[in-house]
Symmetry: C2
Subunit: 183 residues, 2 copies
């Protein structure tokens, strides 16, 4: 078996639930010694950033059980293996923000929690927006809030704690608006 | 026992390791029904954003086992219960980036992975910088890279996947430089 640093030696799935797998790997550390790595294994996620023609966006206010507070965020959702990221972004924007979009652009990807999760989040810009009915799950409490994009950026950075994933999505949007896709 | 939505009914620690605890809660969902929540419980983390007088910063290039690639990032580290965030930020900047700072400002906090982890990351701006020896753990492969802040912002947003936590830290830095702390 290879002793190259960062090679996996073994993998155990300790917990398998409908949302993710919690795993323990044995692997080769940077110095060549064996190490143990506990992590969350996820197929990925999506984030939809809606932008109206008048320069407003739609945040969602989400009750976050783990933090014991509400957070303002862009609509996000988890992927299952085989899911198409764009189709899931369209679903999440419809269900959480009550919006459909006629024009979608991929803004890129980011890893929200590089040290503990395999998750990579696919970010999309949604334009050509129309209102539809929100459709929430039993576990969710989510309310949409429409406001100018600059105000949304301020709100996202000012709430404490801020939502890291929405700030990352905003950075990818800024990059797209300044330099175009893939710049 | 309270049936208020988002009340915890019970908590099991399924895995306890030196880095975090993996837990399963029973809780009251938004609609009042019982639900199950699997999550990572962490005391928190820190991120240090160094800024030299000449407008350059120091990123670290980190091998990320879970993503199978290197990421450019700001220096980060996990907290244990009772750790002081500022003291840990000073430690991480010294060990990972090889820098000490005479002036520190708190830029705020963000939750990197709101849906699956209790972690809140404390972000600090480090100025008055001096070079010291890097000091890595056996599990780490990290190299510092000094470059202008605008170039660093572009690199952080352009790499694919980007590092969500560094983009969030950058957003808090932008906010601080535009409006001052706590704006």
């Amino acid at each position: 078996m290879s002793r190259e640093p960062f090679t996996r030696l073994s993998r155990e799935v300790l917990v398998d639930n409908p949302w993710h797998r919690y795993c323990r790997d044995r692997y080769v550390q940077a110095d060549g010694s064996d190490g143990t790595y506990h992590y969350v294994d996820m197929a990925g996620s999506v984030c939809a950033v809606p932008l109206f023609d008048d320069g407003t966006t739609m945040l969602v206010r989400v009750r976050r059980y783990l933090l014991g507070c509400d957070l303002y965020e862009f609509a996000t959702g988890g992927l299952q293996p085989g899911d198409d990221p764009l189709a899931m972004a369209q679903t999440e924007l419809r269900e959480e923000a009550g919006l459909e979009a006629s024009r979608w652009d991929a803004l890129g990807t980011f890893a929200p929690y590089k040290g503990v999760s395999t998750e990579v989040c696919h970010v999309f810009l949604a334009r050509g927006l129309a209102f539809v009915a929100q459709d929430l799950e039993a576990s969710e409490r989510i309310t949409p809030h429409r406001l100018p994009l600059a105000d949304a950026a301020r709100l996202l950075a000012t709430q404490q704690p801020a939502d890291g994933m929405s700030l990352a999505a905003l950075a990818l949007l800024d990059r797209f608006r300044t330099h175009g896709a893939g710049a």
